[in-house]
Amino acid sequence: MTQPVAASVALDGGVRTADLAAGQEPVFAPSRGFWGHVGHRLVRDPVAMAAGAVILLVILVAVLSPWITPMDPYKGSMLRRLRPLGDATYWLGSDELGRDMMSRLMLGARLSLFIGVTPVLIAFVIGSALGILAGYVGGWTNTILMRTIDVFFAFPSVLLAIALSGALGAGIFNSIVSLTCVFVPQIARVAESVTTGIRRRDYIDAAKLSGASALTIMRVQVLGNVIGPIFVYATSLISVSMILASGLSFLGLGVRPPEPEWGLMLNTLRTAIYVNPAVAALPGLCIFIVSISFNLFSDGLRNAMEVRQ
């Protein structure tokens, strides 16, 4: 049976389990560890599971798209431009160059996910490292690092991304670099604040007393306790990243035609908004669904981590 942890906390303030130094043989649940508990709670959250399923589906489609698209996503037809939704051949209509929307959306998921997730992943690694360092070491290191990071907060992230992309020039690589630069300070700041919150705990002091170096303490003792909240925050940034990446492509600073990418597709279809609004809105709908799925999943993850241990 499972340990009624939450219920027993209510008793006298302390979690109760038998003290077995001598004697009784109680029934114990198998040890799960923190991530085991989080996983256990996450699978019981229907919203997070549904969001996770959507994300998984999109990833699957993106990976398999070269083999499963119903038509050639690059081949257009001047005769069959801007077909409506539900067309017999083009189920999701066709774009302004007569290419199959469904195939383009499927293939577009690749680039959109790639330029949405990659900057967050890179920023997660760099930002966590900077934030944990600043939070654990404290003092002047903290002041210098955090004040530098504050400079980035002076600009709204959209503006910063556009400015950096503009300066670096168009292209996928450059837009990933500029988005990474947007997210590093944000993640570093969260990492710094959670690290500051635990660095005065007794177990950190105990680790210092064992003679461990600061690097070892950060890696072994701090990382495990702060990575969860940072990760939750990072997953919530994926949706922002996807929207920003699409925005850059929309402005012509990201992916270049004829590569399908949802933001770019939104741009090229915007002229068709009066002719065929439903089709023109499809890439936007995809961005919306995927980014909200990431957000909901991130929320679920955060809730699942709120295990009072």
Binding site: D19, A21, A206
Partner: protein, 351 residues
């Protein structure tokens, strides 16, 4: 042979012989700056000139009310906070100097904290927490784990049931056993116990006290035992040090100090302990008011505003810690010949 590679057995390292104190503390100071609205910068005089010795193989109890500086002293002894002034000699060698760097000292001096939960990493199993110390000191992974399991067994936690548990899955008493095992993992000679049994249930407290006595005998440990519970301190300590507002009020053999206290503060502390006799309940509180704030300690003897023996001289001059009997020193003008206090003995009693 030690389990830690590259270091000889700690007992082979004994330098000064049994008569040399294991730890000598002299002139220890720690002031914390605080900002208070309207009052500008102020200083908390947490530890304000403390001298004492910890003898080899003894248990030194440290008692006092909250704010007396006993926990700050513990952290200063472990180097968890930096001292403003003062020297720390470990077996005759200055701690922090070349011959005895902090890293080497900490291998011989460990600490057990009050909060059994906060002092264990919630993301690590019990075994990982205990094995961490040996591991960072170069013990190979497998051996470190074996050592952790042996220690867990020694403190009364069967490894096959407890090694893989997380701190929240075991009780407070069990967690404190884990903390003790971790403190012993580096084979220290000195263990600081900062209110280590205070948060435990009474029936569990007795078990842990017994365990501490067993371990002390088995490993030849020296304890510094910090507690607010005089009954526990009397039971476990050979000598006791009473602190008041960052200074030592009285120090001496615990049988003497706690049976016939010389400092009025020690007397008041003792009298404040609840009686277990329903017919001899306390009728008058020995001390009035709360322990004062160490921000602006009173002039002269810091205890004089609450002291039943206070005389004008007590507000004027600060009593030094003067020897009274063998190993027994008191900082009280009423016990000091020629201090000007009406109750002071006329001349020094031959010791």
């Amino acid at each position: 042979m030690s389990v830690i590679p590259g270091t000889p057995d700690p007992f082979a390292q004994d330098r000064g012989g049994p008569a040399q104190p294991l730890l000598t503390v002299a002139g220890l100071f720690k002031h914390f700056p605080v900002r208070k609205a309207g009052a500008g910068k102020q200083v908390v005089r947490a530890v304000d000139g403390v001298d004492f010795e910890v003898l080899k193989g003894e248990t030194l109890g440290i008692v006092g009310e909250s704010g007396c500086g006993k926990s700050t002293t513990a952290k200063l002894l472990m180097g968890l906070i930096e001292r403003d002034a003062g020297t720390l000699l470990y077996d005759g060698q200055p701690v922090g100097a070349r011959a005895m760097p902090w890293r080497a000292y900490r291998r011989q001096a460990q600490m057990v904290f009050q909060d059994s939960y906060a002092s264990l990493n919630p993301r690590m199993t019990v075994e990982q927490s205990v094995a961490f110390g040996p591991r960072v000191n170069g013990v190979p992974g497998r051996q470190a784990v074996e050592r952790a399991r042996a220690l867990l067994a020694r403190v009364g936690l069967e490894p096959h049931r407890f090694a893989g548990r997380y701190p929240h899955e075991i009780s407070g008493g069990q967690r404190q056993r884990v903390n003790i095992a971790r403190a012993l993992a580096l084979e220290p000679r000195l263990v600081l116990l900062d209110e280590a049994v205070s948060a435990l249930d009474k029936s569990v407290e007795a078990q842990v006290l017994n365990l501490l006595l067993d371990l002390k005998q088995e490993f030849g440990l020296t304890y510094v035992f910090i507690s607010h519970d005089l009954n526990v301190v009397r039971f476990i300590s050979d000598r006791v040090m009473v602190m008041y507002l960052g200074r030592v009020a009285e120090i001496g053999p615990s049988d003497t100090v706690l049976a016939a206290p010389e400092h009025p503060y020690t007397g008041a502390l003792l009298a404040s302990m609840p009686s277990l006799d329903p017919d001899a309940r306390t009728e008058v509180a020995p001390l009035a008011g709360d322990p004062p704030n160490p921000i602006n300690p009173p002039s002269g003897c810091r205890f004089h505003p609450r002291c039943r023996l206070a005389e004008p001289v007590c507000a004027a001059s600060e009593p030094p810690l003067d020897p009274l009997g063998p190993g027994h020193s008191v900082a009280c003008l009423a016990r000091q010949p020629g201090s000007g206090h009406g109750l002071a003995p006329r001349e020094r009693i031959a010791a």
